[in-house]
C-alpha cells in the first residue's frame, strides 16, 4: 500500500478481438488501467463485458486464432507480458502471476489426485523433487484450511465439495507465492456461507503473504468490503474507475448508478421497486463507435450516439467515461 508510485501492473490500450464465422467479436476495446503493489482491485461487470477476456489476454491464455490481441501492452514490473514468447511466459505464469478460475468443478483434472495436481506445479516451477513437493503440498493444503491434509493428497476432485475444491485451486495458485493473484469469479459457483469462508480465507492470505489481488466479479456486493479500488466494465470498455467507498457513494456513470440501484439490500426494508435497466447489452459483433451504454441510458444526448466518451478524471482518483455532466442529469428522467 505504501508504494503507490510504482505500479506492479500497467495495462495500456488493450484491444482483444475474436474472429468467428459470424464476424468479429469486439471483446475488449482499448482499456488501460494500473495496479499498485499490495492493492486489491475489483473488476466488475455483467457477462460478456470483457472482464475475463482482459485478464486472459494479459496472461496470454487467449486461443490465437480465433482470438487476436490487436494492440496493447501490459507492463508487469518492467516486462511487457504481451510481447513475451510462449516459452518465456511459462516461467512467468504461476510463478509471478497465478489465476483462480470460476468453476472449481471443471478446472481440476478429474482423473488425477489432488496431490498429483499440486505437486505438478511445484515440481515444474520450483525444481524440487517429489518428496519435497509433497511436503510443500501438505503445507499449502493446511494454509488454505483443509483438515487432515496428509491423507487428502491421494483424494480425487470428486471426493471434495465445491468449497473444498476452490480451496485446492487457491492452494495451487499460491504454490509458488505469486506476487499477483487473479481471481476470476472464484465464489460465483458457491453458496453464500461457503463464499463467506473463501472470502475470509483470501483476506487472511492477503495479509499473511502481502499479495496483490485482482478480483473479477459480477457481484457488486462481494467486493464492497474487500477491494481498495473498483473498475466497472461494460461491453469491452472501462466506464468507471474509483476508490471503493467513492464508487458506491458517488457513482458517476449512469451504468454504475443503475447497477447499484438494481441491487436489493439484505440489510434494509424494502422501500422501492428495483431500478431496472431497460434493454440488453449491445451486440459485440458490431464495431463500437458510440458510447456502448447509449441505447439503455436515461440521459442520452446526440453526442453519445456519435462518439465514444474517453475515460477521464472527474475527481481525484475517480475516472468515468460519460459525455453528460452529472450536474446536468438531474433534469432528465430518473
Amino acid at each position: 500500500m505504501d508504494t503507490r508510485s510504482v505500479p506492479l501492473l500497467q495495462v495500456d490500450n488493450l484491444r482483444t478481438r475474436f474472429h468467428i464465422p459470424e464476424g468479429t467479436v469486439y471483446a475488449v476495446n482499448g482499456i488501460s488501467f494500473s495496479l499498485n503493489e499490495g492493492e486489491t482491485l475489483a473488476v466488475v461487470g455483467e457477462s460478456g463485458c470483457g472482464k475475463s477476456v482482459t485478464m486472459l489476454s494479459i496472461l496470454k491464455l487467449i486461443p490465437i486464432p480465433p482470438g487476436e490481441i490487436v494492440t496493447g501492452s501490459a507492463l508487469f514490473r518492467d516486462k511487457d507480458l504481451i510481447q513475451l514468447s510462449d516459452k518465456e511466459f511459462e516461467d512467468f505464469r504461476g510463478d509471478e502471476i497465478a489465476m483462480v478460475f470460476q468453476d472449481p468443478m471443471t478446472s481440476l483434472n478429474p482423473v488425477l489426485s489432488i496431490g498429483q495436481q499440486l505437486t505438478e506445479t511445484l515440481c515444474t516451477h520450483l525444481s524440487i523433487n517429489q518428496e519435497e513437493a509433497e511436503k510443500k503440498a501438505i503445507e499449502l493444503l493446511e494454509l488454505v484450511g483443509i483438515p487432515e491434509a496428509p491423507s487428502r493428497l491421494g483424494c480425487f476432485p470428486h471426493q471434495f465439495s465445491g468449497g473444498m475444491r476452490q480451496r485446492v485451486m487457491i492452494a495451487m495458485a499460491l504454490s509458488c507465492t505469486p506476487s499477483l493473484l487473479i481471481a476470476d469469479e472464484p465464489t460465483t459457483a458457491l453458496d453464500v456461507t461457503i463464499q463467506a469462508q473463501i472470502i475470509e480465507l483470501v483476506l487472511h492470505l492477503r495479509e499473511q503473504l502481502n499479495m496483490t489481488i485482482i478480483w473479477i466479479t459480477h457481484d457488486l456486493g462481494v467486493v464492497a468490503g474487500m477491494a481498495d479500488r473498483v473498475i466497472v466494465m461494460y461491453a469491452g470498455f472501462i466506464v468507471e474507475e474509483a476508490l471503493v467507498d467513492d464508487l458506491y457513494e458517488n457513482p458517476y456513470h449512469p451504468y454504475t448508478h443503475a447497477l447499484i440501484g438494481a441491487l436489493p439490500r439484505v440489510d434494509r426494508r424494502r422501500d422501492r421497486r428495483l431500478a431496472s435497466i431497460p434493454g440488453a447489452p449491445p451486440n459485440l459483433l458490431v464495431e463500437p463507435k458510440s458510447c456502448p451504454f447509449a441505447a439503455r441510458c436515461n440521459y442520452v444526448i446526440d453526442k453519445c450516439r456519435a462518439e465514444n466518451p474517453p475515460l477521464v478524471y472527474i475527481a481525484p482518483n475517480h475516472k468515468a467515461a460519460c459525455w453528460v455532466d452529472i450536474a446536468d442529469r438531474s433534469t432528465g428522467p430518473v
Binding site: E46, S47, S161, G163, M164, D191, V192, T193, I194, Q195, A196, Q197, E200, H218, D219, L220, G221, V222, A224, G225, V244, D245, Y248, A258, L259, I260, A262, L263, P264, R265, V266, D267, R269, R270, R273, L274, A275, S276, I277, P278, A280, P281
Partner: protein
C-alpha cells in the same frame, strides 16, 4: 397484505425421499436421500412465500413435489381447500391447470426445436383451453405482450433470444393456463444483475394484475427480502425458521438463519466492513444420513446438549414467527 382466513396453498408434513441403490443387475436398496423431510406451511392468496437455503437443502425438490412433478413420499398438499392426489388422474390435470412453474435455467427449460408460439401455447393445447387455432394464436400474442415481448416474435426460436427474454417466454408459458399458484424456482439466478431487476419487476406487476400467489425459491437472500412477504429458511430437508420478512431479517432466531444472513454481501463498503460475519465451518452434511437431533448441530456455533439427540420442536417464538431450535427454548 396477508389474509390468513383461507390460505390458497397448504402443505402438511410433506416428505420426498429418493431411493439410493447400488449394483448393476441386482439392485440393492442402500438407503434413501431424504431431500424433503417433513415440511409444513401455508400461503395466502396473493402472497409470496420465499423458500431459501443452500444448494442441496431440498428447496427445489420441495417446489417440484408440491406441483406433483415428483410423487410425494408422504404428506398432504391442498390448493383451494382441495387435496392433490396423484391417483385421481382427471383431478390431477385440473390441479395442474391451476398451477405452473417458472424454471431456473432459461436455456434448458425451452425446447430449442419449438417456436415461441408452440412453447407458449403448449399449456393451452394440453388443457384444451381454446376451441380454434385462431383464438389460441391470439392468446399467445396477448401473453407475449403481457411479459413485454413483441408479438411479432411469435415464430422465432429460443436461440434467437437473450437470457432475460427467454425467461420472459418461460413466464408467458407459466401464465398461459391462468394459474392461481406459481412456483418460481430460482427464476433469476442465471441472469445478469440488470436483467434480474427487469424479471423481478415483471413478476411483481403480474402478481398485482392477476392476484397470483408465488412460492419463490431462491438462494439470493437480498432478492428474497425484496420480493417476498414471508420467508421460510430450509436446511437439509426441513424448515428451520419461518416468518414475516422483516421479522426474520431483523430478528433472526435460528443460528443457521443468523449465519446465512451475516454471510450475504452488502453493496455498501462501509457497512460491509463494519459487519461481523458468522463463518460456519464445514459443508452441508449428506441428506442420506442426516445428523441426529437438530440437523444443524454439527455446524452450529451455539450447540447445547439436547441438540444432538432431540429433534427441536417447531414453535411460535412471536406471533407468526416460527422456529425449530433448542437454544431459543433455553433462552426463555
Amino acid at each position: 397484505m396477508m389474509t390468513e382466513s383461507q390460505p390458497l396453498v397448504v402443505v402438511e408434513n410433506l416428505k420426498k425421499h429418493f431411493a439410493v441403490s447400488s449394483g448393476l443387475v441386482f439392485k440393492q436398496k442402500k438407503g434413501s436421500v431424504r431431500a424433503v423431510d417433513g415440511i409444513s406451511f401455508s400461503i395466502a392468496k396473493g402472497e409470496t412465500l420465499g423458500l431459501v437455503g443452500e444448494s442441496g437443502c431440498g428447496k427445489t425438490t420441495a417446489g417440484r413435489t408440491i406441483l406433483n412433478l415428483y410423487t410425494p413420499t408422504e404428506g398432504k398438499i391442498m390448493i383451494e381447500g382441495e387435496e392433490w392426489s396423484p391417483k385421481n388422474k382427471k383431478k390431477l390435470k385440473e390441479f395442474r391447470r391451476k398451477t405452473a412453474m417458472i424454471f431456473q435455467d432459461p436455456y434448458a427449460s425451452l425446447n430449442p426445436r419449438w417456436t415461441v408460439s408452440a412453447i407458449v401455447s403448449e399449456p393451452l393445447r394440453v388443457h384444451k383451453l381454446f376451441k380454434t387455432e385462431k383464438e389460441r394464436a391470439q392468446r399467445v400474442k396477448d401473453l407475449l405482450n403481457l411479459v413485454g415481448l413483441s408479438s411479432r416474435l411469435i415464430n422465432r426460436f429460443p436461440h434467437e433470444f437473450s437470457g432475460g427474454q427467454r425467461q420472459r417466454i418461460g413466464v408467458a408459458r407459466a401464465l398461459a393456463s391462468d394459474p392461481l399458484f406459481i412456483v418460481c424456482d430460482e427464476p433469476i439466478s442465471a441472469l445478469d444483475v440488470s436483467i434480474q431487476a427487469q424479471v423481478v419487476n415483471l413478476l411483481e406487476d403480474l402478481q398485482d394484475q392477476f392476484g397470483l400467489t408465488y412460492l419463490f425459491i431462491a438462494h439470493d437472500l437480498s432478492m428474497v427480502r425484496h420480493i417476498c412477504d414471508r420467508v421460510a429458511v430450509m436446511y437439509l430437508g426441513v424448515i428451520v425458521e419461518l416468518g414475516e420478512r422483516n421479522e426474520v431479517y431483523e430478528n433472526p432466531i435460528h443460528p443457521y438463519t443468523k449465519a446465512l444472513l451475516s454471510a450475504v454481501p452488502i453493496p455498501d463498503p462501509k457497512r460491509d466492513r463494519e459487519r461481523r460475519r458468522i463463518i460456519l465451518s464445514g459443508d452441508v452434511p449428506s441428506p442420506i444420513n442426516p445428523p441426529s437431533g437438530c440437523r444443524f448441530h454439527p455446524r452450529c456455533p451455539v450447540m447445547k446438549e439436547p441438540c444432538e439427540g432431540e429433534t427441536p420442536v417447531w414453535q411460535e417464538a412471536s406471533p407468526g414467527h416460527w422456529v425449530a431450535c433448542h437454544c431459543c427454548v433455553c433462552d426463555e
